[in-house]
């Protein structure tokens, strides 16, 4: 009796074990697609414009996390950036050199920029986002220097892991960011091949998903109809 009972518990144990592995396992569901997630980070100090392609650990991170993942030397005070890549006040008051400070811009991906008055901790960065930090003078967007018109593709090579190399004038602080899950463009590791084939917008994949998803949906609806009919015949 107890043997058969144990046998019955086996599937439950199996299902739980699968879940446990998923939760505690090496690579989690939510971060599984990580290798394919990238965002562009533009850092401008004087004449130097760095274009960094940062790998994201999860589908959505904050602007602050984006900078953190870049591996650049930095210091924060809450959502405000005090010092980045060696520029900015080293200690104490973040705005010690006001009106000179790190301005925060959010790109539209086509080269346009929006000044962000809110802190970087509350903004959202997704795959394909472009953000910029500019060390400049001026209290708001009218006087602060606007970043150059750069797109996502200017920092990250399209559809592949080997993003374009850093723009001119970059160099210096190379990211030691392997542990941070990101790094300067070029240092990013290759993403899984499987990811590329199903990548959205990649050629015929749209058709595949349209047909496949449609078929699955139709099948499911058929199942619903079947169950409905059986119910109402009974």
């Amino acid at each position: 009796m107890s043997r058969s009972r144990r046998a019955r518990l086996a599937p439950l144990a199996g299902a739980l074990a699968v879940l446990l592995v998923a939760v505690a396992g090496p690579s989690t569901p939510a971060s599984a697609a990580g290798p394919g997630l990238r965002a562009a980070l533009i850092v401008e100090v004087g004449q130097t414009v760095r274009r960094l392609c940062v790998r994201l650990g999860q589908p959505a991170v904050s602007g602050k996390e984006l900078v953190e993942a870049s591996g650049l030397e930095q210091r924060w005070d809450g959502g405000a950036l005090c010092r980045l890549a060696g520029t900015g006040p080293a200690g104490g008051d973040c705005f010690a050199q006001y009106p000179r400070f790190w301005g925060y811009w959010i790109g539209d991906g086509r080269g346009g920029w929006t000044w962000s008055g809110a802190g970087a901790a509350t903004s959202t960065v997704r795959d394909g986002s472009v953000q910029a930090w500019v060390w400049s003078e001026g209290p708001d967007e009218s006087s602060h220097r606007r970043p150059p018109a750069l797109t996502f593709a200017d920092a990250c090579a399209p559809n592949g892991p080997a993003a374009g190399a850093s723009a001119a004038g970059s160099g210096g602080a190379a990211g030691g960011g392997a542990a941070g899950g990101g790094g300067e463009a070029g240092a990013a590791t290759a993403a899984g091949g499987a990811d590329r084939t199903t990548r959205s917008g990649a050629g015929g994949a749209g058709w595949v998903s349209l047909i496949g998803g449609g078929a699955a949906l139709l099948a499911a609806l058929g199942l619903v109809a079947l169950a409905w009919r059986r119910r109402h015949q009974a």
Partner: protein, 312 residues
Amino acid sequence: MSARTAQRALGSVGARGRLVLAVTSMIGLAGFAWPLLYGARRAGPDSAHAADAPWLFAVLVALLLVIVAVEHAAGRLTAKTVAVLAVLAALNSVLRLPGGVAGFNALWFLLIVSARAYGPTFGFLLGSFTLACSALVTGGVGPWLPFQMLAAGWVGLGVGLLEPVPRGGRAEVLALAAYGIAAAVVYDLVMDLWFWPLAVEGPLGFEPGIGLGATIGRFVAFHLATALPWDLTGAVGNAAVLLTVGGPALHTLERAGRRLRFQAVPELVELDQPATPCASPAAPGDVTREAPEEDELDRGGKPSDRRRGARS
């Protein structure tokens, strides 16, 4: 009303039982408060686990309840306690049915009064069992259930805080009503904290790594915006019912507690051995009269023929 003694439905809980309850409550609290703790932390590479957290903690809290049940129920619940728990849980679930009596959700009222009458540990169990029973009746089993059970258990347990309030009299009812308001508000707040990471995202949503202050700020804003009006009406309703019905309900429960005698200890009067039946020193009627009369005479000094009257 002279001093009434609490009829504890559960025997002495003991240091160990209290420790288990305390530790499980601490862990359970962490299960609720993870968004706050987690929100305060700098997110690392695995911050993606935020999505798994509600489910992980649901399992964790469910296991906690199992442990509380084993510690406080397994082999310890007498037939009387089981029966009273079951009857009150059923009554409570009925009062919690959608719509309820006159649209009022009387769940907290009965739980608080029962915990006051039969002890905080009983209150913890009653709170948990009520939610379990109610979920089964209405088909409300879900990942939220372990959290609801734990939180309702706390509401029952927390009545123990009122232990210094003297029994009987207006002060007791007032204290219970105040507790009723606090309990309803805190319960809703705590359950909302569980629901919050699932329910919203964006500027009012949970987001890892934005700092404790910001997390709390966002949560409070969300709670104020979505739940507070309902919470407050519920809490005020609770207090009102506790004020008007709390006293009599407490009486009813305490009467039943005396009748049930959770810890009945019979007094066995030794007659002489059957071998010498003629040497009986006292008529049996005398024997029972010799028994110490407990202070349980009804008002007006008339003896109640409680069980006899109701039964035969």
